[in-house]
Point group: C2
Chain length 306, copies 2
């Protein structure tokens, strides 16, 4: 069982009402791979510059992530994002974005990355997503994320990419924008018409909803009294979700997808408890399973005895 993720590897400078960090390790592929590492053998693909060192690689390596397809661009600088969150932690305000080596990124996958069972195309230009998908044509399940930028500037490419994966994992507002349909159930059905068997609508603090041909499932965000930095929550969700799917091995039916939603929710909840990768980097599987059971008990109609 193995899982490949292609996406950004970044330095993030983030300020929230609860503190700030300068140039900490971030990026969609990083958050994803750390979350997925609790379930699966993860190969991470993405570019970095000369400023990216062993200190950063070790965060992933310590979690057993295969970093050999992280491409170091000589003379380049790593993707950099600076942003802040105000009182409403749901909204990220971007203060600076420097694509750097990410601007000319052409994914090159080794044989081991290409032959993974599962594939996650994190939020990158949809034509690149399609190129990676074509290289990993043996993956039994592929999912992608995207964002408003690509909906606005590369809509046809994005729809083509969506048509080549099994699952789309994007924010609910993006599902609405992509389909020009305000009703989420109808919007998700429209996305499925393009090919995917499953659509996951990420809803920030409200959790996530799963639409499949046969049904609907939704989970609230795990209720936390301390949320410090939401950066990477969506990618951690996707990492827990796809990592669990990979670990199950068998057919990916609605029951497996529902439990994967639970693991996605749990990984996202740990991610936001501290800044960047701090919390997930020192997480263990026991903590994950414990919170999964708590989440399950919080969503059952029959309350557990107190």
């Amino acid at each position: 069982m193995s899982l490949t993720v292609v996406g950004s590897i970044a330095f993030d400078s983030v300020r929230t009402p609860f503190g700030e960090r300068e140039r900490m390790l971030g990026g969609s592929a990083v958050h994803f791979s750390l979350a997925a590492s609790f379930f699966s053998e993860v190969h991470v693909v993405g570019p970095v510059g000369d400023d990216f060192g062993d200190e950063q690689l070790d965060v992933m390596r310590k979690r057993g992530v295969d970093t050999s397809d992280i491409e170091r661009v000589e003379g380049g600088e790593t993707f950099f994002w600076q942003g802040h969150y105000d009182y409403d932690l749901n909204t990220a305000h971007t203060d600076d974005t420097q694509l750097n080596v990410f601007g000319d990124f052409e994914p090159k996958l080794s044989d081991s990355s290409r032959s993974s069972d599962l594939l996650f195309l994190a939020n990158i230009q949809p034509d690149l997503q399609r190129k990676v998908r074509a290289q990993c044509d043996g993956a039994r399940f592929a999912a992608l994320d995207s964002m408003n930028l690509w909906i606005d500037t590369a809509r046809d490419s994005l729809l083509a990419a969506i048509g080549e994966v099994d699952c789309t994992i994007i924010n609910d507002a993006e599902i609405r924008a992509l389909t020009e349909e305000s009703n989420l159930a109808r919007a998700a059905a429209k996305v499925m018409e393009h090919g995917p068997k499953a659509v996951v609508a990420k809803q920030g603090e409200y959790g996530a909803a799963l639409f499949t041909q046969s049904g609907f499932f939704a989970l609230p965000g795990y209720p936390l009294e301390d949320v410090r930095d939401p950066t990477g929550a969506g990618d951690s969700f996707a990492g827990g979700f796809l990592g669990y799917l990979d670990s199950e091995g068998g057919e990916i039916d609605d029951g497996v997808l529902r439990r994967a939603m639970g693991y996605g929710t749990v990984l996202a909840s740990f991610n936001v408890e501290e800044f960047g990768t701090e919390r997930v980097a020192r997480l263990d599987r026991e903590e994950i399973d414990e919170r999964f059971e708590l989440l399950r008990s919080m969503t059952q109609f029959e309350a557990m005895p107190a």
Copy 2:
């Protein structure tokens, strides 16, 4: 088993992307009592003007609601609200509000209204809520709703009213505003410090979350492909919630509250399918129970066989 609601009785003129209605029956006490009528003997208390006739009363009477405490103010006009919803059905835009007889409302409860087992104080001035609560001091469970207007203009009165009920049912943004606490779990805990054993955070299309001393429970909104008019959804939720609590009779523990959340969600979902009271007025209990079971199956980790 009986349930008293005090709140507005109104004419609503509403426009949404799916149509419009002029001066249709509305108001918090009306939406609440219709929803609760499937579970409980409901007494509705509120003022109307000369323009309110048998046609409107009959909508409630046909559902078995006791309308004898609806006070007709001679020479007065019924509360009137005009508003519209755009593409985003979550946001109501108010175009006109005429308090009319509601401006001088002094609730007068008959013996039967006063002796109900349960009490719901819909969104009215908090000092009025307190007067009604004092008249119904035998109710074994009381809940209230409120709004930003009272948080801004009558905060101390509202906190006193909250201290005198068992459950607060308000929008999540209002819980945050009331407590000046951005984290919802912390904000709900702060509300409970004032007295209530339970706090329900209404979250629009995202559903609702329940906070109690012993736990957390949340349900998504029921996924509908056709939402025509969200007006009254929150009051229909409260009606299903409290109606079910009343019908259960026994101790109101977490298990009963969770199922009540389910019935609240179901009644709110029917309410928004058509304009005003149109859908709930012709609903039957079988439809409610059927949707309740569907909602339960949509929130279980184990998927039903397709």
